[in-house]
Symmetry: C2
Subunit: 496 residues, 2 copies
Amino acid sequence: MVANGAGDPVKGPQSSCSPLGVDNINPKVTNAQYAVRGEIVIRAKELEDKLHNGEKLPFDKILYCNIGNPQQLGQHPVTFYRQVLALCDYPELLENEQAKAIFPPDVIARAKKYLAAIPGGTGAYSDSRGAMVLRKDIAKGIEERDGYPCDPDNLFLTDGASQGVHAMMRMLLRDENDAILTPIPQYPLYSATLTMYGGMLLPYYLHEETGWSLDINELRSQTYKARSEGKNVRALVVINPGNPTGQILSYENQVDVVKFCKEEGIVLLADEVYQANIYRPDKTFTSFKKVLCDLKETEVTVASMMSISKGFYGECGRRGGYTELVNVNSDVQAEFYKLASINLCSNLNGQICMALVMNPPKEGEPSFELYSQERTELLASLKRRAVKLHKTLSSLQGVTCTEPEGALYAMPHIRLPQGAIEAAKKIGKAADFFYCMQLLEETGIVTVPGSGFKQEEGTYHFRTTFLVPEKETDEVAERLTKFHNSFLAKYGEPEQ
Amino acid sequence: MVANGAGDPVKGPQSSCSPLGVDNINPKVTNAQYAVRGEIVIRAKELEDKLHNGEKLPFDKILYCNIGNPQQLGQHPVTFYRQVLALCDYPELLENEQAKAIFPPDVIARAKKYLAAIPGGTGAYSDSRGAMVLRKDIAKGIEERDGYPCDPDNLFLTDGASQGVHAMMRMLLRDENDAILTPIPQYPLYSATLTMYGGMLLPYYLHEETGWSLDINELRSQTYKARSEGKNVRALVVINPGNPTGQILSYENQVDVVKFCKEEGIVLLADEVYQANIYRPDKTFTSFKKVLCDLKETEVTVASMMSISKGFYGECGRRGGYTELVNVNSDVQAEFYKLASINLCSNLNGQICMALVMNPPKEGEPSFELYSQERTELLASLKRRAVKLHKTLSSLQGVTCTEPEGALYAMPHIRLPQGAIEAAKKIGKAADFFYCMQLLEETGIVTVPGSGFKQEEGTYHFRTTFLVPEKETDEVAERLTKFHNSFLAKYGEPEQ
C-alpha cells in the first residue's frame, strides 16, 4: 500500500507490497457476487479437467444446468440466423455461384439488405446505438408484438441484455441512498450491479406459495419503509417471465405495477428477455410497453430489456440485446447515447442476430417453413423438458416446486435435514450451497444454490435449467433422485 | 425529484417531475465526455441525413476521419478471418460439398479445430475469460511476438480493448483520491472512464516539439506533486504506438517507464492496440511484457490491452480484444475473472477473430499467400496515406504536424487567428472545436478537436485519421487546404 501524507513530496520506492492487491482494489468489486458463475462453476471446471485427463469420477461428463446456455448442451441453432450471419461476415459468398445454390433467396436478400445499409458491414463500428437498418427491423418486430408504434431512436443495441442493465444502473445510482426494488429471488446480475455501482438493493419478496406472485402491497410497504429511512427509491426491477422463478405476470398485475410506478415516481426496469419462453397455453406474454400504451400512460419511464440469448434461439455466445427506452426525455436519452458511445458500439454480429430474432422469415418466404418448424420443435421440446423436470423435482422427499410457466428454469424449494444445515455451517457455507456442491461432486450436475439469488430467510432452494437434452433427461432424473435420497440417508430426514 | 425526509413513511404520488431527468441521474455520467463521438459526429449524422434526403450541400458525402474505423471508409477485410468466421457461424458449410470448393483447407481446418474445442460453438457462452482454445492461440501469438512464455490463464478476452480499460478502472479506482497518470493528449476513453469510475486524471504532458516524447521526469514530478496533495497514484497509462499522437516509444524509454513503475509502486496500463501499425523502417514495436521479461522484472504489474479493431485488419464492428495481466496475484486475477463473469463472456465472433489476428496463416499453408499479400498491401497503403496527409497538413499556413510513426492518426498543431478564438468564445466553445465544426460544415470531413483529447493550455490541435481511401486523398487534401485558407481569410492571420 502506498501511504501518502499531505506534506512534502514523497520520493523513492514505495513499500514492496503489490500495487494491485485484493486489500487495495475497489471494495465494490470485491463485494460483488455472481453465483451463476461462482465457486461451484469453478469446481465444475476442475472436475471437467480431471475427466479430460482420464481420471475416474462417479459421472462421465459435467452437465451445466447453472446457466441458460442451451447450445452448450447441444441445442441446434436456428438455421436462418446462421445463414444470414455467415453471408454478412463473408460477403464474397453473395457473388459466388456455388454459394447461391446453398443459401435460400430470402437469406441472400436479407444479407444484401443489411450490408447495403451498414457502411463497412460487420467490420465497422456502427452508430453507437446500433445500425439504423437493424433498429428499424427490431422496431417493426416490437410494433407487431405490441400493436403500437416503436421509434428506432428509442432502441439501444447492446452486447447482451446485461449491458443495458449496467447502463441503467450507472445512470440511476448516485450513492448508497439510491435504492432499487428488486424481486427476491432475483437474477444475480441485479445484486452484482447494485453492489458495483454503489446503490442499495431494496428487496420485495415474491410469494412462492401463490406461484411466485408479485404483490403490489409488498412493493408499497418496502418503498415506504425505505423512504422513512432516507432512501430514494429510484427504480423497480420486474423480470417477466421470471428468472429464476419462471412465473408469468397477469395483465392485471402488470397494470398495477405501472400504476404503482406512476404513483411513486419510480422507473420501471422491465427484464423481458424470456418473452418467447411461454409454456402454458393459458398464459401469454405482454410487454410493459404495451401495457403503458394501453393505459395511454406517458409519464411512467420504462426500460425494456431484450436479448438473443434466451427464447428458443439461445444465441448466448453472440452477445446481442436491446434496451427500449419508453417515456424518457431526449436529454436523458442523449446521456444514454453518450454512455453507449464511450463503448463505441455493440458487436455487429449480435446486432444483426437481434434484428433477425425480432424480424424472422414471414409466411410465404422460402425460409419460413424451416424456421417455423425449428421454432415449434424447440419450444415443444423445452416444454416437455420443463414438465419432466418439474415432475422429477416434485417427487423428491421434502421438495416442492412451482411449475415453470416460462423462462428456462425450475426453482425447487428443498427442505434440508438439520445435519446438513450444521455440516454446511461448519464450513461457513449456506446449506443449499452445500447441497448443490455435493450434487456436483456426485452427479456432475451444476446448479445454483438459492442463496445466490437471495431467498426468504430460513428457506433453501436451487435453480436448475431444464436444458439437458431430451435423450438424457431420464438418466439425469435418475441421478438427481439417487443423489437426493442418499443425501437424506446421510444427513437425516428433512425437518418438515 | 423525490424528496424524502427521515420521518413518517411518505405516501401518495411524488412530484410530477420525471423520475429520470438529467438533473437527477448520476453526475459521473453527465460529467463524462467522449469527443470522438460527440457533438461534431452528431452534426455529421444530421448532415448525412440531409444529403440522403437530396439536400444540396457543399460536399456530396461525409468523410468520417474522427475515428479509426477503416472498413467504414471502404477498407477490404482480411479474407482468411472472414472465411473462418463464416464457417464458425454456419458450421453446416463444413459438411457441404459445394462449400468445400469455396474454402481453402486451412480455413476449414481452423474452423473445425475451434468448433471441436468450443462446446456449443459461437452460439454458447464460453468461459468468462474467453474459450480456452482461443486463449491458447493468442498466447502462442504473444510468445512468438515476445520470445517469452504466455499463460493463457492470464488472458481475458473482451468486447474490444475498451472493456479491458473499463475493468481496470473499476478495479483500481476506489474514490476521487485515486489518481491515474494519463498522457496528454490522451485517448478520451481514459478521461471518460476516470470520470465515470470516480477517479482523478493525473496528466503528464507529451512533448510535441520532440515528437510527442514521453519524459520520465514529468511522470515523477506529477506523481510527487499529486502525492503531496494526498492522492494515491495507482496506475500509469501508456499508449504505444500513441493515440492520438502516433509516436513509437524507444526501448530505452520503455525500460525507464518500467523502472519508474517499480520504484513508485504503480500499475502499468499498456494500451498496445496499434502494435501492428508501424510505418517507419527504423522503428519497431516492443511490448511492455517483453521489456518486463528482458529485465526479469516480477514485481511490476502490467495490464496489456490489445484489440482486433486496429492494425491493418481493422475489424472494429466485431468487438474483440484481450487484456493480458502480467505479475498479478491470483486473488486479484480471481476478482478480474469475477468481473468478467458478471458480463458472462465477450462475444465469440470477436473472440475467434482475436485468435486469428494473433495466430494468422503460416508460410506454407494454403491461405498464407493471400493473407500475406493483403497484409502487405494494407500496411503499405496506410503508410502512403500517412505520408501524404502529413505532407498536406504541414503545408498549411500556421500548421505544424509531427510525422506519424505508428497508429492511424495525425495530430496537427494549428495556430488559430485571434478572430476565430474570439468567435469561438462567443458561442462558448473551444477554438479548435470551432475550427473542426466549420471544417465539417464546409467539407464534410469529420475530425476531433484537440480539446477532446486535452492539450497544453493555449495550444490548438485536431486529430484526423489517415483512412480516407487512396483514390480520394488528393481531393480531400484539396478540400482541406481550400477550407484552411478560407478560414484564415475570414478570421485573419494566425498569431504566430
